[in-house]
Amino acid sequence: MARDIVKRELTGAARWRLFLWPPLLLSAALLILPQASFVWMSLHKNLGMGLVSPGLVPDNYLRVLSDPFYLGSLWLTFRLSLTATAIGLAAAFPTAYLLARARSRWISFLIVLLLISSFVTIVVKVLGLSLVLGQEGVVNQFLEWIGIVAEPLRMLNDETGVVIGLVQYTLPFLVMLLFSVIQTIPASLEEAAELHGATRLSTFRRILLPLALPGVIAGALMTFNLNMGAFTSAVLLGGGKVLTLPVVIQRKIFLDVDYPLAACLATLLVVMVFLFNVAAALALRRTRHPLRTP
């Protein structure tokens, strides 16, 4: 009897599994065919005029890995992404905490605003940033008016601008992610700690942070990945001077029409992002979830 039910459930599961095949085939085709032709392309030499060499050669990779310009660009991309991720986390965590813990009618309104910010296309937000942060923008006018700065601060057309743009791009997603993480942590744990005389700092350090850590790391990785691939803010707020890898790739395609080298650089970017994620996943595996420790 019990066996019968198990058997029946299995056939049910097997039937549902049929649903998998069309998406699986489509996704595999869209993933493998283009990527394969792409890596294949990266192993050719550019002969100019859109022509490429017939044989497979590692020249592009050797060239990229020995040229300080490309290595510098990779390092710049990495550095800016990491900076923007750190700033994003520092801003998003307190915000998400407040949204998750406050019991107010306004919270759902604040979340709608967050959604709006995340759904407005990045070009519009970058346009807004360049209006506000320029040398004569409102932010500088305000800072001069209250007397913090004597001269307009330079916030655009350099690395600062790019980092601001990256934070603008990823912050709403990060807040939403951390919000849903913190919501799953019972507030009673913090109250209990405080009742037992823990200071707020130690409650944060020993209760909240360890419980939220897996979510925080997942959010940091998501943000980092988005930052590594973002180029809208780097192009528009970097003033053409901040050459992160995505910007260099775009230039190789549009200005130099050097497809093989662009393919090589893009492959390098994917590999870097992938390695960073694997490394983080391995590091995460070691930090156990505190509630699950026996």
Binding site: L20, L114, V138
Partner: protein, 276 residues
Amino acid sequence: MKALARLRRQWFFWLVTAAVYFFLLGPIVAVALASLEGKQTYHFQFPPETFSLAWYARIPQKYVHALGVSLALASVTATIATLVGAAAAIGIVRGGPRYREALQAFFNLPLQVPFVVTGVVFLQFYNQLAILSGIDFLGSLAGLVIAHVFVTIPYSIGTVGSVLARANPRLEEAARTLGASEWSIFKRVLLPMLKPGVFAGFFYAFIVSFGDVPIAVFIASGGFVTLPVEIFQSLQFDFEPAVLALSTLVVIFSVLLIVGMQKLAGFDLVLPAAKR
């Protein structure tokens, strides 16, 4: 009351939250206000000098066309991605625990690839396809749709999957015990439960496709350039004040879409999916 008192003490959190909201919404508001400035020459002034809606009447034709392209692209992409994603989610969640994690990881791969790379990848793929088979996807709506479907499938798998994981499988068993055929279980039990997840997935795919620059900038050309790419090019090369008016309209459209979505699916669903 106690919770409130605790929050009162947390002035630091309020300060950060206020700064975050100011930072996130300020630029959007600035665009909207600047679009009302009659003497606009790429600047933002508060309060505006001269109020006028003149720029709204002066939006060049190419942007109107691009808006049409973007809307068509986002609708078609979202429809396909939602259908494919919902099927995948049913298979993953209801198909038994074997391979579940591997399948999830596989279907999430498109989000691990930086968008710029996806753009370049599809550009080269279409180029080679055109050489090999003569079918040219570059500068066509189909080319854009294929690339966007690729990156948006994970979103609808996420939303439909999270609804399905929460739905009670006993309902399906009960229907089966009562003699329902697999088809009517699917149509009358599973599908109605999935509805909010399907809406949320559609919504996500639509928004991602509608707002995308890094992919579309490589494969959109000729008659099929999307609106964000047009705005991007305008900001990069020659700024037109009418872009401010246009951007404001895009913002208003996004707001309306969110409100509509809340009515259809509720935030409960939109939020967990947002983590991707």
